[in-house]
């Protein structure tokens, strides 16, 4: 069965012609989005994997700021296209233990990047998201997905969304953040978050939220250093008994 699944995924990403893909993705996405909306109206169980209520999700293991996809959006899924991308490609040099690393940050461009994003996130987080979950975020909000590359290898990524919460508030949501274990302490997590938030703010976001386990000290430090505060404590958010914290950053 593994063979079949990997074949499926191979089929999905083969024969890529970038522009063509974008066009097709949109028409397919429309169908997906209708489906997601329909799913939301029908209730939890209809939803594809990963978009169900928070109690189902397992914790991420220690990392520099990996967050779990958890929020069940009860909002209308808008076809939000982020109009500005302050920096779509930037290389930063960081030194760690006397070694210099050149990390290139770029915004998501095509499906070709999806497998490496999935691989990175699956390594860090125990929750098995299907490809559809990644597509939901990345195809709807590609300008909010950033990758960190080292020598052309993806070593960090962030996946977000931005939509209207309770018909009033424009809310950014950080769904997943992962940094390869070998590349910690290089400010990659912080930089990815900063880039994503800049785009959100440029698109009139009122606030940014995310959830993380109360035991995830590195993540809490990262976000609090940027001005996030702990808005709510979510008891038994993860069914293994660990509480989560909802972190919020207000722009107004």
């Amino acid at each position: 069965m593994e063979e079949v699944e990997s074949k499926l995924q191979n089929v999905v990403i083969s024969d890529v012609k970038s522009n063509h893909i974008v066009d097709n993705s949109h028409s397919v996405l429309k169908a997906n989005k209708e489906k997601f909306r329909e799913c939301q109206e029908n209730g939890d169980e209809q939803l594809p994997n990963g978009l169900q209520s928070p109690t189902t999700h397992q914790t991420s293991t220690e990392n520099e700021g990996s967050t779990e996809l958890s929020e069940l959006s009860s909002d209308i899924v808008t076809e939000e296209k982020c109009s500005e991308t302050p920096e779509s490609c930037e290389t930063i040099e960081v030194v760690r233990d006397n070694k210099t690393f050149r990390i290139t940050y770029k915004v998501y461009e095509s499906e070709l990047e999806l497998p490496s994003i999935m691989k990175l996130i699956q390594k860090d987080l125990s929750e098995p998201y299907s490809i559809y979950t990644y597509r939901y975020f990345i195809n709807n909000w590609p300008k909010l997905c950033y990758l960190a590359l080292y020598e052309n290898k993806c070593v960090g990524c962030i996946v977000c969304k931005l939509d209207i919460h309770r018909q009033i508030t424009k809310r950014g949501y950080i769904a997943m953040l992962a940094v390869d274990k070998e590349f910690r302490k290089l400010k990659i997590g912080t930089t990815l978050v900063q880039k994503a938030i800049r785009v959100m703010r440029a698109n009139q976001a009122d606030e940014v939220v995310l959830e993380t386990e109360i035991t995830n000290q590195p993540a809490l430090k990262l976000y609090e250093n940027l001005g996030f505060v702990r808005d709510k404590r979510l008891f038994h958010y993860y069914l293994n008994g660990v509480d989560a914290l909802r972190l919020k950053l207000w722009f107004r």
Partner: protein, 707 residues
């Protein structure tokens, strides 16, 4: 592509029929068709939509596909098949096996109360699926007892309703929880087992292994019987809580359960222990996946059953908490009731059942305290005891004014539900309380407005020149402030505030919330004293010592005021301490690009925005205040802080009967007084390290320790 028959998912057999295979290999055909699709394209049909495709993609994935089992022993095993294949015995249990089953059932019971679904905890025990077939008297009576107590527990929890989906899985999936057998018979069977074991014990030597095993068994059966009986008797009959005499009997049962528990804990090793490699809580009698098809596929495959040690600790506290809950019938004064609920919420925090029991005892019926007293009447009494509004005093003219009476009655009629909800809030887990209080604060602000109107009306009807002019408003403000204070303190307890926020949180509590509570209490007390002094009996007392002594005695809020003053001094201490650290550059600040202290401040206190008393202090006003404080140098601030902690210490040292919480506060005050004094004297002047705020002694007021 193929069909695999899992059998039906009900309580009866899962594997009645052997699976029927109907394989047809269509791999090549499938991949041929797939070639025609573009990347990202999906073929949808009515019977195969996005939902089905996402499930198809994860088929046979061990984490996502619930029909896929890695190990043979994880395969669901029904009662019938287990018995037929000899995997489940129904008689000839060793004592160790019985103890093992009993303890794992206790672990499942505790897990269920703490949030695991009943079908993934208690009902994974196959014996519970058909207790009538069990041939061992002890096991049968115990299993029926477990089923019966589960039904009773769910009655309490569902009725009280102080939980959310993540706290407790309320779905019982229509399982028969010994509902056919009446409680009396279940209890009789348990007692029968106990008597039988007692007879055996008489013939044995206390040093025999058999004696120890049987003692272990009898203590478990006794605990279950006593707890079951107690819960059955506590549940309100005809919407009325047990009276004092019945409560006394119930308390005796609870004492018995508490007494027998040490024996249970002592003998935990005498039972069969779970295999650490397996998901089953016991080597025999359980099939963790037997009910898998009942639960949504999103639930965890292997639920967490808490360890036996943790379960027993939980069950040991249960009768103690319930015994404490029973004490609530002694309180009729609402102020005391509120304090009781607050305190209980802190003590019984981990146990939803205890908190539910307390809710049911107090409100067995909506709006009726203990089922017999009208909540609105109790609230009126509370207002009368708090500040003595003329409209509620029988000897006052206003009391006999029909229109004033109507106005007052309407006020309580409209707002009584707020207090009912406040009581309910304290039944929830602490983390839920905070945002429930936030929601309730809007209602409190509306109530304050209405109270102002009532006061205005009363003044118009009977102009008085006493200080009892704003009685109802004061009373409303007092309870609003209690809610606000709890809201702010919970933020510390739930670890919500970052270190860069401490200054404005403590500042707000010191200068606004606590300051208002103290002045409201002082005003209320003054009113009560004035009223007492105006009575005939007081006027007849001779002047001098008798009168002065009596006035001193008439300080109903003395203790509470002192506690509030302690809190205020502690907050002042922290405010100045953090201020000093900020001046010394020792409090880390977030990066400025996205951070805004103004927005943080405004959102943190957003729940107070609708109040007129106290009016929310704007960020600008706060900043002006902060600037004034910061004109002092850091050493001056540290010295001021030390004085404030010293003040708190003095108040507490002169307060009799300190409970555990006040004792912790005293410890913190003493520590901080010393540490701040050292800093004031220039100790570690050049340090830039962030000080350590240790919340282990008290969750809201940390001991300051330098790194």
């Amino acid at each position: 592509m193929f069909k695999f028959d899992m059998g039906d998912s009900s309580q009866s057999t899962q594997q009645e029929n052997k699976p029927n295979y109907n394989w047809k290999d269509i791999k090549d055909e499938f991949f041929d068709c797939v070639e025609k699709l573009e990347v990202g394209e999906l073929e949808m049909q009515d019977i195969f939509t996005l939902s089905e495709s996402t499930s198809a993609v994860v088929m046979l994935d061990k984490a996502s596909d619930i029909g896929h089992f890695e190990k043979k022993e994880d395969f669901p095993l029904s009662f019938k098949v287990a018995v037929e294949t000899g995997q489940l015995k129904l008689k000839d249990f060793t004592y160790s096996e019985l103890i093992g089953i009993f303890d794992s059932l206790f672990a499942c019971l505790a897990s269920w109360i703490q949030g695991t679904s009943i079908v993934q905890s208690i009902l994974t025990c196959l014996y519970l699926h058909n207790t009538a077939a069990i041939e061992d008297k002890y096991l049968m009576s115990f299993c029926n007892g477990i089923l019966k107590i589960s039904r009773t527990i769910s009655n309490f929890i569902l009725r009280a309703g102080v939980y959310e989906e993540e706290d407790f899985q309320s779905n019982l999936f229509n399982f028969d929880l010994c509902d056919e057998i009446i409680a009396r018979k279940v209890l009789a069977a348990l007692r029968d087992s106990e008597n039988s074991i007692q007879n055996c014990l008489r013939k044995l030597n206390s040093s025999d292994d058999e004696f120890k095993d049987l003692t272990a068994i009898i203590s478990r059966i006794k605990y279950l019987r006593l707890m079951l009986q107690c819960l059955l008797e506590l549940f309100p009959t005809r919407l009325v809580s047990p009276d004092e005499s019945k409560m006394s009997d119930i308390t005796k049962l609870l004492a018995g359960a508490i007494e027998v528990f040490p024996e249970i804990k002592k003998t935990i090793d005498r039972g069969t222990q779970p295999d650490p490699e397996s998901h089953s809580p016991n080597p025999i009698g359980f099939s963790p996946n037997v009910n898998l098809r009942l639960i949504p596929p999103t639930f965890p495959r292997y639920p967490r059953i808490i360890s036996r040690v943790d379960a027993l600790n939980f069950l040991e506290e249960l009768p103690k908490n319930i015994r404490l809950a029973c004490k609530v019938i002694q309180f009729t004064n609402f102020q005391s009731v509120l304090s009781f609920f607050l305190e209980f919420s802190r003590i019984a925090e981990p146990c939803l059942l205890s908190r539910s029991v307390l809710q049911i005892i107090y409100f067995p019926a909506k709006g009726k305290v203990f089922g017999t007293l009208n909540l609105n009447e109790i609230l009126k009494d509370s207002a009368r005891d708090f500040i003595g509004p003329p409209g509620l005093l029988p000897r006052h003219q206003l009391f006999h004014d029909v229109q004033a009476k109507e106005c007052i009655d309407l006020f309580f009629f409209n707002n009584g539900h707020i207090f009912a909800r406040l009581i309910e809030v304290f039944g929830y887990y602490r983390s839920r309380q905070r945002y429930k209080i936030e929601e309730l604060l809007t209602d409190f602000s509306n109530m304050q407005y209405e109270a102002e109107q009532v006061d205005a009306y009363c003044r118009k009807q009977f102009s008085s020149c006493t200080s009892a002019d704003n009685c109802f408003e004061s009373w409303s403000i007092y309870y609003s402030l209690r809610a606000m204070l709890h809201f702010l303190l919970l933020g510390f307890e739930l670890e919500l505030y970052s270190i860069c926020e401490y200054f404005y949180i403590y500042w707000y509590m010191e200068n606004v919330t606590l300051s208002w509570i103290i002045s409201t209490l002082a005003q209320a007390e003054a009113c009560l004293v004035e009223q007492k002094c105006s009575t005939e009996e007081f006027k007849n007392l001779s002047r001098g010592q008798k009168r002065t002594r009596l006035i001193k005695k008439m300080k109903p809020f003395d203790r509470e005021m002192k506690i509030m003053q302690t809190l205020q001094s502690l907050c002042a201490g922290f405010c100045k301490a953090v201020g000093g650290f900020m001046k010394a550059g020792r409090i880390p600040k977030p990066l400025p690009e996205f951070d805004s202290e103004k927005f943080r401040y405004e959102h943190r206190f957003a729940a107070f925005v609708d109040f007129t008393a106290p009016q929310m202090i704007s960020y600008q006003e706060f900043k002006e205040n902060q600037e004034q404080i910061f004109t002092a140098g850091q050493e001056v601030l540290f010295l001021g802080s030390s004085h404030s902690f010293s003040q708190a210490k003095n108040i507490l040292e002169n307060l009799p009967n300190l409970d555990q919480e006040l004792t912790s506060m005293l410890k913190v005050a003493k520590n901080n007084m010393v540490v701040m004094k050292l800093l004031a004297n220039g100790h570690k002047k050049e340090s830039k390290l962030t000080p350590n705020f240790d919340f282990s002694i008290h969750p809201c007021f940390p001991a300051i320790k330098q790194l």
